[in-house]
């Protein structure tokens, strides 16, 4: 392969020097960026409804941890524009590789919320059917899912399907080796995959400045020859536009795409974390004024696309959703200890059968 260092090639891969933005923090439209089409009004309204519902779901899930109904919950409050734009940019037959942080995206994808929360409820499996939903199990070993996404994208390409794969990852995860291997493999294979980095500024307690010296995480793409972009991740319009462009780029056979969304994790890492130990309340307040949902709402109202009635009905739907979730989560989940042996292999080994029988004798022994 020849060395491609001419300015045009390099510039074509580099992200914009400042994050792409359509809507300012106060909800007013800014000069639209070139190269990124504005999403349709209908899509924006749909995004709004989903963001309202997503936020309500997130709040409900956090509440469920307090009631002991969930073992742990990593909130994505403040990241709803990313969560919803990621899903809206994909077709139903595209694949999504989420992390533990992305429950809102999964709910928005249409997966039953109780199934989404299965692992966080303390069960041993992901809950939903990844093959049917085309959503991989939520991934906790950081960045490991990004390379699976490349493999799946390569599989789709080989089968002649025009599906695209989107891999979600956090800012901290971009320091892991697997992320870099994934970028490199994707570029070399020309796989139809979009890497979507939600830069929420923290990896548990570690701030971005300790994670990287790169000008922005989006610059990590250039070393691999991947077209990259950075976007204001609290601007739904911009995030949806950039992600849609990225997905279409991959679908058109133009190779992988890396998108970094600048956002903020409003809550602690999980309900078990205490964020006051590593960040100032003033910082959180500043981000409160950049809230993605309020911004989109103002923007849509200003443009006359949304009125009080529309807002109320979105909230009503979200309340109904939350109440159904509450009821469903009140029922004790049924767990079958014997099933622990069933999915280690397609056919349990003789040793697993013996151990299953041992457990049965323990569980059925008369108590003394």
């Amino acid at each position: 392969m020849s060395v491609r260092t001419d300015r045009q090639v390099v510039d074509g891969l580099l992200p914009s020097p400042v994050p792409v933005r359509f809507v300012a923090e106060d909800g007013t439209a800014v000069e639209p960026p070139t190269g990124y089409p504005a999403p349709g009004d209908g899509q924006l309204l749909e995004a709004y409804r989903r963001m309202v519902l997503g936020r309500r779901f997130d709040r409900q899930a956090t509440a469920l941890t307090k009631q002991g109904r969930l073992a742990v919950y990593p909130s994505s409050r403040g990241q709803e524009a990313c969560q919803i734009a990621g899903v809206l940019a994909l077709r139903e037959d595209d694949w999504l590789f989420p992390t533990y942080r992305d429950s809102v995206a999964l709910v928005s994808r249409g997966i039953d919320p109780v199934e989404v929360l299965t692992l966080l409820r303390g069960d041993w499996h992901c809950g939903y059917d990844p093959a049917a939903t085309r959503v991989a199990p939520q991934c906790t070993p950081l960045a490991t899912q990004t390379i699976h996404a490349v493999g799946l994208a390569e599989a789709l390409r080989r089968k002649g399907e025009d599906g695209v794969v989107m891999a979600f990852i956090g800012d901290g995860g971009t320091s892991e080796g697997d992320f870099h291997e994934a970028l490199n493999y994707a570029a070399v294979l020309h796989a139809p995959v979009v890497f979507f980095v939600q830069n929420n500024k923290y990896a548990i307690s570690v701030p971005l400045a300790r994670q990287t010296a790169a000008p922005a995480l989006a610059y990590k793409g250039i070393g691999y020859g991947i077209r990259s972009e950075q976007v204001d991740g609290n601007d739904l319009v911009a995030t949806l536009s950039v992600l849609t462009t990225a997905v279409e780029h991959a679908r058109a056979g133009e190779g992988p795409f890396l998108v970094e969304a600048h956002t903020y994790r409003m809550d602690a890492h999980t309900n078990a974390d205490d964020a006051t130990r590593y960040r100032e309340p003033e910082e959180v307040e500043r981000w409160e004024s950049a809230d993605p949902l309020a911004r989109l709402e103002t923007h849509l109202r200003d443009r006359g696309l949304l009125d009080a009635e529309g807002i109320a009905s979105a909230h009503e739907a979200a309340e109904e959703f939350a109440s159904r979730l509450r009821d469903a989560m009140n029922a004790e989940p049924e767990t079958d200890p014997y099933e622990l042996f069933d999915h280690v292999f397609a056919d349990p080994t003789p040793q697993l059968r013996e151990q299953r029988a041992l457990l049965a004798s323990e569980l059925t022994a008369p108590e003394d």
Partner: protein, 338 residues
């Protein structure tokens, strides 16, 4: 077909699998036009094209992770780790995903994939090229772990591994790559996947071993026969699933057992075998179950590897300690009387 080396048998197995199932793909480092550093994939790119057998960028976690995604997408990847110690970067992918995907998805996603790993020593390799790493994989629930000792087994076990619905770590004893069977792999002769094979029948004691240990154990058995001791040799073939039945019935018959492994001994596969035999055959045992293993040292340099590797003498020394004089068992006595 003429007699084949294990390397040729593996190559033939890959070739036949690629031919029979278009979902099968072969990839890894230098497996393309070069045919792999041990030539196991020789000629596959030429015959099946770059689409079916290809070189990847250098990154082992990447190779295994890519295989995970491709298996999720309906393919059956067979990937090569260039050497035992260079599979370590992929360990997180193997332990956290390859081994667990079926379980994490309650059986909805399976990963029919094979990770081939040339392993163990005896070829005068330099550091990082001779590790016996089987215990790491065997200790990980969700992985099947296979290691052939003959070309015929290499062929059939690899064919079976590729069609298996679960991920298989396929460990190839490097020093047996150039060993030959008398005949070519023909019809399936050996026991099925998951079953051990009795390589030599004997009545006085059982040597339980696998992979690179098998020829050494057979050599020891030949030497012992000269001294009037009749050793049975069991080749495990698959470490997971483990064939308790064959091992137990052999030891119950002979009443004595020595476990032979090339790997360092502490907490190794041999320890597991010794424990299982002791738990199941206690009343048939006339002597403690002994282990013959490599030492608990990083693999030594080529000049010193002979000091490290278990050889026939080390096995025979162990056999000597099986208390034939102290506690002659009934079978042995009866046979000597007749």
């Amino acid at each position: 077909m003429t007699a084949m080396t294990m390397a040729q048998a593996l190559n033939t197995a890959l070739r036949d699998a690629l031919r029979e199932d278009e979902r099968v793909l072969v990839f890894g480092e230098d497996v393309g036009p070069l045919g792999g550093v041990f030539r196991i994939t020789d000629g596959l790119t030429t015959e099946f094209g770059e689409n079916r057998c290809f070189d990847t960028p250098l990154a082992e976690a990447g190779i295994v992770g890519l295989a995970v995604g491709m298996a999720m997408g309906g393919f059956r990847p067979v990937v090569e780790m260039q050497f035992d110690a260079f599979a370590y970067p992929a360990f997180e992918q193997i332990a956290s995903h390859v081994a667990k995907m079926r379980n994490r998805t309650r059986g909805r996603l399976s990963l029919p994939m094979v990770i081939r790993i040339p392993y163990a020593g005896g070829i005068g390799g330099v550091e990082h090229h001779c590790d016996s790493s089987e215990a790491y994989y065997v200790h990980t629930p969700g992985l099947k772990v296979v290691t052939p000792a003959t070309p015929d087994d290499a062929y059939w076990l690899l064919r079976d591994a590729i069609t298996d619905p679960d991920p298989v770590i396929f460990m190839e004893p490097k020093r047996l790559y150039w060993s030959k069977d008398e005949t070519a792999p023909g019809d399936r002769r050996a026991a099925g996947f998951g079953r051990a094979a009795v390589r030599r029948e004997g009545l006085d004691a059982t040597l339980v071993t696998y992979g690179p240990g098998v020829p050494v154990a057979l050599q020891a058995a030949e030497a012992a026969a000269g001294d009037g001791i009749d050793l049975e040799v069991v080749d495990l073939r698959t470490l997971v699933p483990f064939d308790d039945e064959t091992v137990v019935s052999s030891v119950r018959k002979t009443g004595r057992c020595v476990v032979v492994q090339e790997a360092q001994g502490f907490a190794g596969v041999g320890a597991e075998i010794a424990a299982r035999v002791q738990e199941r055959c206690f009343h048939s045992l006339a002597a403690p179950v002994l282990r013959v293993t490599g030492f608990d040292i990083p693999y030594p340099p080529p000049k010193l590897e002979r000091s490290h590797l278990p050889d026939a003498d080390r096995i025979l020394d162990a056999v000597d300690r099986l208390q034939f004089d102290d506690a002659p068992d009934v079978l042995h006595l009866a046979r000597e009387a007749s």
